[in-house]
Amino acid sequence: MLTRTQKVIIYLTLSIAAFLMVFPFLWSIISSFKFAHEIMAIPPTFWPENFTLTNYYQVFNSQGSQFGNWYKNSLICSSLVTASVCFFSALAGYSLAKFEYPHKEKIFYTILSTMMVPMQMLIIPWYIMFTHLKLNDTLIGIMLPGLISAFGIFLLRQAFERIPNSLVEAARLDGASEFTIFRRIMFPLIKPSVAALGIITFVGNWDAFLWPMIITDSSHMKTLPVGLQAFAGQFGVEFHLIMAAANLVVIPSIIIFIVFQKHIIGSIASSGVKG
């Protein structure tokens, strides 16, 4: 058991660490309500002397800003990709876990091996392919490379393997068709793993930068991270605006996280994300 002193030291250390984790956001939020000149003042102020929302206003209404569109694009792309990944990974994972057919192992290892291929290798061919198919600057172009995930298949196959085969057999004897078995019995039973996969996929997609940047040209088609970067690039050193924009991207994530946190951390931790 821990002594009083030990407990105090531990709490102190952890509190300092936790503070270091979140202070950039705290500072960013506080400062975003200050006027530009106050932000860059030396010596710096803590609380805003003159509270203002002008930075945020400018973010939305400045030339070159398409914040609304960027949010919309990110939302559509991340949601659709997450749904697709969850569904097709479950389908493939189920097949690999509960069915027997020739070359099954080869198919699985082929899919698994794609996890080893770094995205950068594929970006150039993708760009060439998509340009041919005239998918530049489209939402489909943004989403296509992420629609199915090998990691997802791996994770959900593992989840399905933990379900006893007798459940599938009982369902077959009950007269259910194969797809009904998948839809009504197997898929519902791996909900926690699907939730974890969904969260990981959504967050990963929301933050995706390299590919969306390459495939989009027009400002209104960009996703949030790409738009933010282009927008900030336009404004050079105007940190008060860049920072307000960054906040607008970060705050919703934090709020969603606060609301769903038990779910999110629980799912990721408990779905057995081990190598």
Binding site: P164, S166, L167, A170, A171, L173, G175, A176, T180, P188
Partner: protein, 373 residues
Amino acid sequence: MAKVTLKNIKKKYPKAENYTVDNFNLDIEDHEFMIFVGPSGCGKSTVLRMIAGLETITDGELMIGDKLVNNLPGAKRSIAMVFQNYALYPHMTVRQNMSFSLEMNGMDKDEIIKKVEAAALKLDLGDLLDRKPSEMSGGQCQRVAIGRAIVRDPKVFLMDEPLSNLDAKLRVKMRAEISKLHTALDTTTFIYVTHDQVEAMTMGTRIAVMHAGIIQQCDSPEVLYDSPINKFVAGFIGSPAMNFFDCVVKKEDNGIYLEMENCFKIKVPEDREEKIISYKEKHVWLGIRPQHIYPDDTKDIEVVPGNTLKAKAVVVEPLGSEKFVLFETKSGFEFTARFDPRVSVKKCDEFNLTFDLSLSHIFDSASELNITL
């Protein structure tokens, strides 16, 4: 008509060297309670699963009623199965579990409700209908699994070691429940798989004893017990198991003897001499059940002088209603005897024992067939 006929059924897995089930022939009658029993790996579950349609039949014909069902999916064979681990759908309530198969077969919603309620009544599941499997005990889950099966009015009811996951007391209770169920469902044939010979003996009308994929003997419990066809069946049925003594047949002037070196030399009863005489000077197995071994001062049977052996008690198990004693001969051979509880036995006691040979069996050393039948 709910009879099941298996003709020359064989099963071989693609990567296996041998047949898991070889030339299985059995006619199961309408409304029988047929039990497949045998040690692990003997193929009993495989046969059951072939009847259920969960395994393909490599060779042979399977008929349910008079219909050839080899290529018919399990769901269409008018069968229902109870799995060892219940296989209840964890995310559904008992009611939904029981309704599922009926729903899959397109039954009308009102009909389904009626059937589920009727089955629940039969198995006393009324209070549990809205519970989920995780909220119930093993025994309750097992009853639900049975309920899920009978709600389909199957012709054949298959059970794959349904009681192995339950504790001893519950098992005894459920055995009676299942037997009562069999009586109640008078148009259904029961096929039951177990490795527990006590379960087999207490529940079945006929028992098929299996070993290495082959039926050794299929008969009623009494016949299996009294007239085992070979050493395997003799040693498998009955608890504690029959003792087997490796003896040599000796012909002497005044009769035929079975001699086990340094142990005993026992005179064979006259009515059996005829069957044994051809085994002169050959090895045979003498099979004696524990309850047919007595101390030589017993009043329960007629003691033939000379038909005794000396042994030392090594382990004594007083069970109240009887006493089991593990004996060891001078040459180190161990065997079990069942004594009346009033006989006083202590560890390391030396005893003179005698056998009731009229109830013994003698088996051919090579073929292991029962010579004395």
